[in-house]
Amino acid sequence: MKDGVSLLKAAQKLDEEALTAIFDEFAPAIYKYTLRLCHDQIIADNIVGDVFAQLLEQFAAGKGPRTNLRSYLYQTAYHLVVDRSRDSRHNAPLEVAVGTYEKGQFTPTQSQIEERVMMEALISAMNTELTEDQRHVIILRFLEDFSLKEAAEIIGKEVNNIKVIQNRGIAKLRKAMGLHLDEDW
């Protein structure tokens, strides 16, 4: 398989192989990310389609990303999610994660049950306590493993702002889960 830069160059020439490789690599991740934000499989699927359609249009126009394709795709997805959430306030991120976590096929031990309770409390705190920006930064930084710089590019803010938003988000989560932490740890 081609490396990132050569893959991008080939994709800019609308090389079918490169375009297919890009879709296969990034579409599931973009879907997951979008699903965390919008909590709707159909909307997530539509957004994936829009993201890659926009990418193709950019390539056909001789534009598009030159270096960081992953960050570019997430950025496009983020903007599309924000646009859709403006139209319909349908936003309950990470509830799907709870559902899938509950579907996990294992026999829960005591510690696993405690961990599950903790996880649910964390998800609840993320959904209720954090602002939109804080939630997005936490998702990008800790669930999608983006660097501070990449998260800043995706959201469209300065790196220092992202740092501040992340710290405040973590502090809010810690405060919201204070009781649980005192009980369990």
Partner: protein, 214 residues
């Protein structure tokens, strides 16, 4: 921040949450989306693909006869299109005057027509249609009604304008005739007296001043 053990606990929990999320892209949705994506890429890449094939054919990339014939046909098509455009451009250049005439018929005639025609148009109607010609018929139209109704005229002078004027003068009384400069003092009829009066013709006291009673 991350040195704080409580923060680290949160970060560890977030990492576990990431691994716990096992929501995958449904296969049917993924397959259909992939097909749409590739179809769209083929649609957009049609123009680009021709160029790429031409380049590869020129470089002798695959050497397949079918591809070469396709490239040749496309190349020929392009050359023909360019030739047609060039010919049309040349013809348009030679016949540019006629084309300009077609697009703008007699562009220089319209301003001259305005210059030539406008002065006579503005000057000639004014003397022809004089205000006197329009105004003179109206007073005679009004006066004959007065003439016919007020004073009978002699039969022989009915159509004469001077007679009409005289008749008009006689129909309305001259204010200087009675010597009052147009005023009509004493000409209003006296109202009839309806109330009782004494012998001298003066009104009685009751009717003269009713306020004195009170």
């Amino acid at each position: 921040m991350e040195d704080d053990p409580k923060d680290q606990i949160i970060i560890d929990l977030l990492a576990k949450l990431k691994n716990a999320t096992r929501e995958e892209y449904p296969r049917k949705l993924l397959a259909s989306r992939r097909n749409q994506y590739l179809n769209y890429a083929a649609h957009l890449g049609f123009g680009v693909g021709i160029g790429a094939k031409m380049m590869s054919a020129l470089k002798g990339g695959n050497g397949k006869a079918v591809v070469q014939s396709q490239v040749k046909s496309k190349l020929l098509e392009t050359v023909l299109a360019v030739a047609i455009v060039a010919e049309a451009g040349t013809l348009a250049y030679f016949y540019r005057d006629k084309i300009a005439d077609l697009i703008q018929p007699t562009p220089s005639a319209s301003p001259s027509a305005e210059e030539v025609t406008s002065p006579p148009d503005s000057s000639s109607p004014l003397p022809q249609i004089t205000p006197t010609a329009l105004e003179t018929p109206t007073p005679p139209m009004a006066t004959p009604t007065i003439i016919l109704t007020s004073t009978p005229l002699p039969a022989g002078t009915a159509g004469n304008e001077n007679v009409r004027e005289n008749a008009q003068l006689t129909s309305t009384p001259n204010p200087n005739d009675n010597g009052n400069n147009g005023n009509h003092y004493g000409q209003t009829p006296k109202p009839e007296r309806t109330k009782k009066s004494d012998k001298d013709g003066k009104p009685t006291k009751e009717t003269k001043d009713p306020k004195k009673k009170k």
